[in-house]
């Protein structure tokens, strides 16, 4: 009987968490802007929320001769579990922020090839990820 009570209670609590869990991706993406390295001008902020999706993707036209920076912000101390992958217009890999099992929170990309680039955020396991990201440029 007690087990049944615990189970019913757990179902209510968990479903409540599921419905009410708030992801402040908007806030996190805004918080990411001042974390762009010195000299970079802000271009875009991106919401990075797993929300049942396998990945979140944005695109941007990068220009040869311009250096871009993409950073990631998460609620904790670092961006563990959120990986950013940069691909060119033909889906060739340019960068991936997971290196030797470490998650790098910022990528600086001095572009040498003008074109559309895809900025894809993936998640390393089944956990519910919530984060933000900012894109900046400098010449």
């Amino acid at each position: 009987m007690k087990k049944l009570f615990v189970f019913v209670f757990s179902v209510f609590v968990l479903s409540g968490f599921n419905a009410n869990a708030q992801c402040n991706a908007e806030t996190l993406s805004t918080q990411c802007i001042p974390k762009l390295a010195s000299g970079f001008n802000f271009l875009k902020s991106y919401k990075v929320e797993k929300a049942g999706k396998e990945y979140v993707e944005y695109s941007y036209v990068f220009t040869k001769g311009t250096q871009y920076m993409i950073n990631i912000c998460a609620p904790g101390q670092n961006s563990d579990g959120i990986i950013v992958t940069l691909e060119d217009s033909d889906r060739n890999k340019v960068a991936n922020s997971k290196v030797n099992e470490q998650y790098i929170s910022a990528i600086a990309y001095p572009c040498n090839k003008t074109g559309i680039y895809y900025i894809r955020y993936t998640f390393d396991d089944e956990a519910s990820y919530c984060g933000g990201s900012a894109l900046g440029f400098k010449r």
Partner: protein
Amino acid sequence: MRILIAGLFFALFMACSSGNKSEDQALVDALDNTEMGDQAISGEVSEILHRIPSPLEISVLLKQSGKKYNGAFLNSPDNLSRYNTNYKRALNLGIYGTDLGYTNIYEQSQDGIKYMSTIKDLANELNIGQFFEMETIARLVSNSNNLDSLLLITTQNFNAINHYLQSQNRSHLSVLFLTGGWLEALHITCEVAKSNPDNAQLKEAIGGQKIILENIMHLLSFYKDNDKNMASLLAEMEGLKQSFDKVIITSVYKPSTFQVVDGVMIIKDNSSSTVEITQGDIDNIRTSTQNIRTKIIS
């Protein structure tokens, strides 16, 4: 006990219902979208709108390549009273936005305040004036030490406008706003290149706009069947496209390398692209751009 079991089933049912809610909503949205063109195309439009580069990049290029400020290239704030339709307002909001970025980059505070005021008026007429706090911006414009903050706040405002317009099913205005901004940046670059015909960097910057033009034309094509103004603008862009047709952009991919310095992954891009563009191409692009812009600003 029966009550508890019933409660358990109820709880499970509610949990499952909660999970399906988004699917149900998606179905309702999909049905609604069949009647609301702007909603239906907003996903793809939003994706493309996101990728159009900021005109600020061009202004930074011009300044860093040593070109002097020239206010004569810009659309005069005095033209504001000419813009009596939302079509013209949105296009010229984009044009004035680029002009504001140009004046800001060159730290021309007097001109900057005029453009900011004009933008605020246009934005009010489009019911998006709430995104500009004039007092804050005027304070930032008047002090050159605040340049970074000024660029940040204006970029954030324009991004917020785009998000808002899309969320309000007014994506067509967002498309016009970005089209106007892009066209103005191309116009300024062409005018600067006119007096610097040997500047390879400027030539390449102009040629590279071929990629953006393709995306903008794709955006406009979504609206051509339901909006005569946008169909007309698309037709004019077709003329500009013909001026770009001889421009050849060649890309070579080579895997990049990287190193991590102070927690930042610094990429070494081993790929490359080249732009083949003649002076004749640039002259044609400048003329086509000027023709379209003149119709928009007059």
